[in-house]
Amino acid sequence: MEVISLRRNVLQRYDEIARENRQLFNSKNILVINLLSSPGSGKTSIIEKTLEKIGNSLNVSIIVGDVQTTNDAERISKFNIPVVQLITNGACHLDSKMIKNALDKLELDNIEILIIENVGNLVCPSSYDLGENMKVVVFSTTEGTDKPLKYPSMFHRAEVVIINKIDLIPYTNFSLEDAKRYVLQLNPKTKIFETSCTTGEGVGEWCEWLLEKMKNINATK
């Protein structure tokens, strides 16, 4: 019996493509957001609210990943912006190769912000780099205060956490203070926003931050 020493990263193939994607995005000055959450936290609603605020002033394109149906893409299509729907047919996450293929359907020279709405799942997508600038994780007040602690791998990698559905807090036992403490415990650098897509509260702060981020990216080029 012999031993072959490999020391090979299992996700190497995806990481290589993610690196290529990132180089391409950088060269085109595109800010790329990987938007993540469990099913039903409000990813699509956040996108809708964001587009209402900044859709007219910035060129935004969207890639939407779902296990099935094109419902989310249809919701976004009313904004008349480029939307690519990826149906994973059962796979629980998007990977860099799927994104690379989807880019053929977009005009990269006309995009300033690309939002990738990942499949609703807080476990699997955390390990798959798509080539994004930042991971934005949404979680809602009805999911429980300790959500970040239950999915540490995801929250650890989040640059931004949006706590959504804050209008429902009076009807739950959700503690905003504890939730924020848990988020910062997993990643002290995470920027936290509190939003309600029903009342519109907090959406403005998130959009302003995004615009500022966009300015910084352009300034460093």
Binding site: M1, E2, V3, I4, S5, L6, R7, R8, N9, V10, L11, R13, A91, C92, H93, V123, C124, S126, S127, Y128, L149, Y151, P152, S153, H156, Q185, L186, N187, P188, K189
Partner: protein, 122 residues
């Protein structure tokens, strides 16, 4: 359930290596799985068994070593294990850390029987 797609990737990498190295039989695959990968070992084993059934890797054993999350403090330069996923330096309380292990999944090595003249059947 990303274990299934990870098992598929492992399967493909091992098969490709076995062909290249003219391997007759793969006895075992040694895997290092970082805790931050959020992999459930049983699910990974089950997925690999399912995928490898009826192939030359059918009897190959998957040995999983879980790798703890370790970090280096950028402030005091000390290294430590991140317990309870509390990302703070236990010595100086700084939160400016670099994760040095526990994020990835590696195929460390394969135990094989080589036979240069026999072609591998897939």
């Amino acid at each position: 359930m990303h274990e299934f797609s990870l098992a598929m990737d492992i399967f493909n990498i091992v098969l490709e290596t076995a062909k290249k190295e003219k391997v007759k039989k793969v006895y075992s695959i040694k895997l290092e799985v970082g805790k931050l990968m959020a992999v459930i070992p049983d699910s990974l084993l089950f997925s690999f068994e399912t995928i490898s059934r009826g192939t030359i890797l059918e009897d190959t054993k998957l040995e999983i070593d879980e790798v703890p999350v370790k970090a280096r403090c950028k402030n005091c330069k000390r290294e430590f294990e991140v317990n309870e996923l509390f990302f703070m330096c236990p010595y100086c309380k700084s939160t400016d850390l670099k994760i040095i292990s526990g994020r990835d999944m590696f195929i460390k090595s394969l135990e094989v029987e080589k036979n240069g003249s026999d072609k591998l059947k897939t």
